[in-house]
């Protein structure tokens, strides 16, 4: 079975199919309209012109017009295109052509047969007899092409066909003999108006871009006589120019083969469907890109990559604040001012007689210290760094004077590396009092664990550092930070609420520990130089805190002035960026 050539895409399809395998165009309709079949049969070469009357080749039309061929009437009107062509076939001529000889004069037929033969056929025969070479050469070429069609490969046929067409195009005899091919009228939608041209030819011409609005006139100029051969020549020319397909089916078939032009040689048939299809070379444009199957995930990743690449060069809203660098002069000046003011306040003049009243938490701690039993056992937890030692000494001295009395047992634990030495220095003179038992337990690296361990009940066999929680009548915490004190308060007060907990802390820890006092988790609190000065003024034992308190007040005043001046003279224009801290 001969394969069916799709008129749209030119692909070969089995003959039993109705639609093209590639572009799904109808095959059968096209066949009825004049789809030519690939053939290798010489005998059927001229039978390719099947179809309606419109599918008659130009040659026949031209012959009819030149010789005034009458319209087909009578019985011949009802003839199918195939029958009509068959009736037109010249088997005798074919045989002679194959033989290579000249076409002999047609045999004289009987009168009866002559009467039955139509006039136009008679004219053709007469023409062949009168002009032995009128179409002989062409016919010979056709025959040769048909013969070579079977033997040659498709690639060879392309080469032969193009060269052959060119040769025919240069032949002046063929230009004059053939009637001009009527050009289809192309409207704005680029659709060829139906004319005498067959649909398949029109489509070929449109696909090759031969009769576009721009090139139509050029084609007219180049075409002499509009003969079939001229059409073939011009088709070849357009094929060489690289026509582009505009069929919708092309988009649906991205994997279309890019066929090349096929130029039949001398021995190849004119209207071999295979050649025609192959002339319509398919140039892949942008819409003919290979279809890529991209999954959704891959698309997301590709988008992400594209966004990342784009983001790399994107302008960022990074703050470029210009920070006014603190001049060393300013820092030095401030340091000098501080030293002078504080020095004068420390060493000159009498201390200020403070009339400040004791705070409730201060009073509570003093009351506890006063009311301790003579043989009380007190645990002192030391969590102070060396830099805060002086402040803690000032704060703790008055209270320790009340606590460290003969007969009492004092246990000392330190959770800071230098705490042991600092505690020794602090208690040096006080601990020399006779009758006082001091148990220095040394350094414990993690104070919170110590607090948890001491707050937990211990069995008889084992106790933490030899201490029992029931041994103490009170705990005194000396600390320079809020965190360590809070850990002790939370562990001890939660598990042993009966044991009083008192805190002697620096000024930075005092405000954050005040809520513990208000909730009753601690029994007393003294924080900072201000509270120490209040206690000292109440107890009236020394004036160390009073001198420092005056210097401290001057320092606070300087700080207030700096804040106000800084807020007043702030030039916001130099710093347009705003802090973007969280919280």
């Amino acid at each position: 079975m001969l394969p069916l050539i799709c008129p749209e895409c030119g692909a070969e399809n089995p003959s039993d199919l109705e639609r093209c395998q590639d572009c799904h165009a109808l095959l059968m309709d096209r066949n009825e309209e004049g789809q030519t079949k690939a053939t290798g049969d010489h005998a059927e070469s001229l039978d390719l012109l099947s179809g309606t009357e419109h599918d008659l080749p130009d040659l026949l039309h031209a012959l009819r017009q030149d010789e005034g061929a009458p319209h087909i009437e009578g019985d011949q009107e009802d003839l199918s295109p195939e029958d009509f062509v068959e009736s037109f076939s010249l088997p005798d001529i074919d045989e002679r052509l194959i033989a290579g000889g000249e076409i002999a004069e047609p045999e004289v037929q009987s009168d009866e047969l002559q009467d039955e033969i139509p006039d136009w056929l008679l004219r053709i025969r007469q023409r062949t007899s009168e002009e032995p070479d009128s179409v002989g050469e062409i016919t010979q070429k056709i025959q040769a092409a048909q013969e070579s069609l079977v033997e040659d490969e498709r690639a060879d046929r392309q080469d032969h066909f193009s060269s052959w067409l060119e040769k025919l195009g240069d032949d002046p005899e063929s230009a004059t003999e053939l009637a001009p091919v009527e050009k289809p009228v192309i409207d704005d939608s680029e659709e060829a108006q139906p004319d005498d041209e067959p649909d398949w030819l029109e489509k070929i011409r449109l696909a090759e871009g031969k009769f576009d609005s721009d090139g139509a006139e050029d084609d007219d100029e180049n075409r002499d006589g509009d003969s079939l051969l001229q059409w073939l020549v011009s088709l070849e020319d357009s094929a060489q120019k690289g026509p582009s397909t505009s069929l919708d089916e092309d988009e649906k078939n991205p994997l279309k083969e890019e066929t090349s032009e096929e130029e039949p040689g001398w021995d190849e048939p004119f209207f071999a469907q295979e050649d025609t299809q192959q002339i319509r070379s398919l140039e892949q444009d942008a819409s003919d890109q290979p279809f890529l199957d991209v999954s959704h995930e891959e698309q997301i990743q590709a988008d992400q990559l594209a966004a990342t690449i784009g983001d790399e060069t994107a302008l960022r809203s990074i703050k470029t604040h210009r920070r006014a660098r603190s001049s060393w002069f300013l820092q030095l000046g401030l340091a000098l001012v501080l030293m002078v003011v504080l020095g004068v306040a420390l060493f000159y003049g009498a201390p200020i007689d403070s009339k400040l009243s004791l705070k409730p938490q201060n009073q509570a701690l003093l009351t506890w210290a006063d009311t301790l039993p003579p043989n009380a056992s007190v645990l002192i937890f030391f969590d102070v760094q060396a830099g805060y030692a002086d402040e803690i000494n000032l704060i703790a001295q008055p209270v320790l004077n009340l606590v460290l009395t003969p007969g009492r047992k004092i246990s000392l634990i330190s959770s800071s590396p230098a705490g042991v030495l600092l505690a020794e220095q602090l208690f040096d003179e006080m601990l020399e009092v006779e009758g006082m038992v001091v148990d220095d337990l040394g350094y414990v690296p993690f104070g919170m664990l110590m607090a948890y361990g001491m707050a937990s009940p211990a069995n008889e066999a084992r106790s933490l550092l030899g201490l029992e929680r029931d041994d103490f009548d009170g705990v005194l915490i000396l600390s320079d930070n809020f965190e360590g004190t809070a850990a002790w308060i939370e562990q001890f007060s939660a598990k042993n609420p009966d044991i009083p907990l008192n805190c002697l802390v620096t000024a930075q820890a005092g405000p954050l520990l005040a809520p513990y006092w208000e909730t009753g988790q601690i029994s007393g609190l003294i924080s900072g130089l201000s509270d120490a000065q209040r206690i000292e003024s109440v107890l009236g034992e020394s004036q160390d805190a009073a001198y420092r308190w005056r210097a401290y007040r001057f320092g606070i005043l300087i700080a207030i002035v700096m804040l106000v001046v800084g807020a007043t003279i702030a030039d916001e224009g130099k710093n347009k960026e705003e802090g973007q801290g969280g919280g």
Binding site: K319, A386, G387, A486, A487, E577, G579, Q580, G582
Partner: protein, 250 residues
């Protein structure tokens, strides 16, 4: 009388359940986009700029691993650390990690070694990142860090974990070198002293957003959501307690 132990356990239990459920939820579905903090972007940019300029980078992990008042700060600093360790950061050998406590220094070293052995070839040397302990107490840590910062030009200083007020000296030193300072230390006193000086500063619980902002993940988003839910419940509880106190019930 409310048993505060039990109340605490309830909070912990609810948090754990919420965290697990939300982590699973965000792993199965797409999470939500958290707001970007320009401070964090500026910190990351400063690190890259420092690499390009050939300047040192310093990360301070804090002076304590654990405190009662700020229990998760040290762990937070260690959690951020792997997200800041990448091939680019270690390529020039200019990144230094400092800690003020032995356990912090040991964990930091473990993370550095683990990062390179788990994710990369064991043949790779981890000497690109230096870990050090300039001091054993907060003030001695500051003194040691001052020496280190003055010795080399630093382009970036990251302050993480639990910090003391003395870190202001470190910030000023780096800023005088025209370097960038980023503060994500959680202690109140450190935030207070850094606020007037450091522009890129995370305050309060925003500190805990930092790991998720650097390297987003389902776990971080679940943590934020859990924290938001707990915060909302806490607010409701506080308001309810205040109202009940005012009307005399409590």
């Amino acid at each position: 009388m409310i048993d505060w132990f039990l109340a605490g356990w309830v909070v912990i239990g609810v948090s754990a359940v919420l965290l697990l459920l939300l982590t699973l939820f965000f792993r199965l579905r797409k999470g939500y986009a958290a707001r970007r903090l320009t401070s964090v972007d500026a910190f990351r940019t400063s690190q890259f700029v420092s690499i390009e300029q050939g300047r040192f980078r310093q990360l301070l992990l804090g002076d304590q691993l654990w405190t009662s008042a700020y229990p998760g700060l040290g762990l937070q600093a260690l959690t951020i650390l792997p997200k800041l360790l990448d091939v680019e950061s270690a390529v020039d050998g200019g990144l230094s990690l400092s800690a003020g406590e032995g356990s912090l220094a040991v964990f930091a070293r473990q993370i550095i070694e683990g990062r390179y052995t788990d994710g990369f070839s064991t043949a790779l040397s981890s000497s690109g990142v230096r870990s050090m302990m300039p001091g054993v107490t907060p003030l001695s840590l500051t003194a040691g860090m001052l020496s280190e910062l003055s010795a080399h030009p630093h382009g970036s200083l990251g302050l993480l974990g639990h910090l003391s007020p003395s870190v202001l000296l470190l910030a000023e030193t780096v800023q005088n070198q025209k370097g960038h300072v980023f503060g994500a230390g959680g202690s109140l006193s450190a935030q207070a002293v850094l606020y007037p000086v450091v522009q890129d500063l995370l305050l309060g619980e925003t500190v805990y957003m930092l790991p998720g902002l650097i390297d987003p993940g389902a776990g971080h988003q679940a943590g934020w959501m859990t924290e938001d839910i707990l915060r909302f419940l806490l607010i409701c509880g506080l308001i309810a307690g205040a109202v009940l106190k005012m009307i005399g019930v409590l």
